[in-house]
Amino acid sequence: MSFLGNSKPLLLVYRNMPKQSLSDTVNIMLTPQFYSLKKETLPLKYAFQVKKIAPSLFDGLLENTEKYDYLVYREGEVWVFIAYNLKAINHFLVSKGIRSEQVGKIFFAQQALDKFTAPVLLGDKDALAAIDGSVVLIPQAALEEGSETLTFDERFTPKHGVVLQGAFNSFLSKKQAIALATIFTLFALAFFLEGRRYSEGSEVTKAEIEALLEEYPALQSQYTRKSIAEKYRAIDKNERKKRDRVKTLGNMIFKGVTVDTFKMDDKGFLVRFKCTDAKVAKHLKELSKKEGFSSVKTLTGNIVQIEGKL
């Protein structure tokens, strides 16, 4: 299968052509019956610039109610303008049994000007001939008797053609399709980039881990790390608890309170505070409860005993 479209059979389309029964895709060449032609010498270099002024050239020549498309190309120093109505063309093709999906590319007879070295017969009455640089339709009666005629075939296929879009059967026009596709593609691109950024984000943290491993090679083994962490986390936790208890108990000493005895080991602690009177002892007891010590006793001689586990 060729994607160039020029290897397909070329079918010449004219008004009184017989109804077709196609089994495969064809390229078609339209006679001047389906387009309007103008030639202008313009001081413009590029086709896209020329194409912009095409509608104004045909102003008043074409029906305003119809939508026309334009093909612009250069013939030597002259710009050739072809105005065509795709809707009407498609309508005609359908009436002749040619569905739009069977049409590869559309060409215009004018594009194959140099191939019309002799007339091409169209049915019984008309002929297609190049006269004064334009391909025109002439009656066969105007041809000289016994004059040479050409057989129309793929040799007439020009390089560039027009694609008959599915616009007549599809729900979206080409412009709408391109606009939507562009929007979707832009969003897709944004999502791809965002996804890529996320994947790179985790690589930064991985690099940080690698840098740490390089700095502390002794901790490269996960097993070593785990065992060190378990051991020292437990020590850290217990020792912090011991120091917190001592600090809390130290903060509970106020006027009239002195430490009588204090003992702390790995399992717990026991402290006895000597108070000057019962009022101070009561206040200390309340304070210790407030600090969260549950085992608080008042012993004889205004001594407050606090016991606790670690």
Partner: protein, 133 residues
């Protein structure tokens, strides 16, 4: 040849498909990277914590730092016995200021307190302290 009839729709559908693939790709990346990022961050956090723990509890200068305890009180009030990485110290007849200094220093040292005992003896304090590191 039906595709040709609906080629505009086909273009849009393909672009939409691309969009969906990109969206799925982004979501997969987001969820996987969020997960792995959280794991990596946790790993980094744990690693740093481990380094801090190691520095604190395996500090080679701890022994020297402990020796400074001896300078807080006159030697007459002190019994000092250090063997390897263990210390047994006794402080006798400390004033309340001396007691505060000794206890504050003990609490600020990165040692494992095995025993800390304070006794008030008629206004002066006796301290027994055992630790390892």
């Amino acid at each position: 040849m039906i595709w040709k009839r609906y080629q505009n729709e086909l273009i849009v559908v393909l672009a939409l498909l691309l969009l969906i693939i990109a969206l799925v790709y982004k979501n997969v990346q987001v969820s996987s990277s969020t997960e792995s990022l959280a794991l990596s961050k946790q790993e980094v956090r744990e690693f740093k914590e481990l380094v801090i723990l190691k520095k604190r509890w395996l500090d080679k200068r701890t022994s020297k730092k402990l020796d400074k305890l001896q300078k807080l009180v006159p030697s007459s009030k002190l019994k000092w016995q250090k063997k390897g990485k263990k210390l047994t110290a006794g402080f006798h007849g400390l004033s309340s200021q001396e007691l505060n200094k000794v206890i504050t220093m003990i609490l600020n040292l990165a040692v494992q307190i095995q025993m800390l005992e304070i006794r008030n003896d008629h206004g002066s304090y006796n301290v027994e302290f055992k630790c390892k590191w």
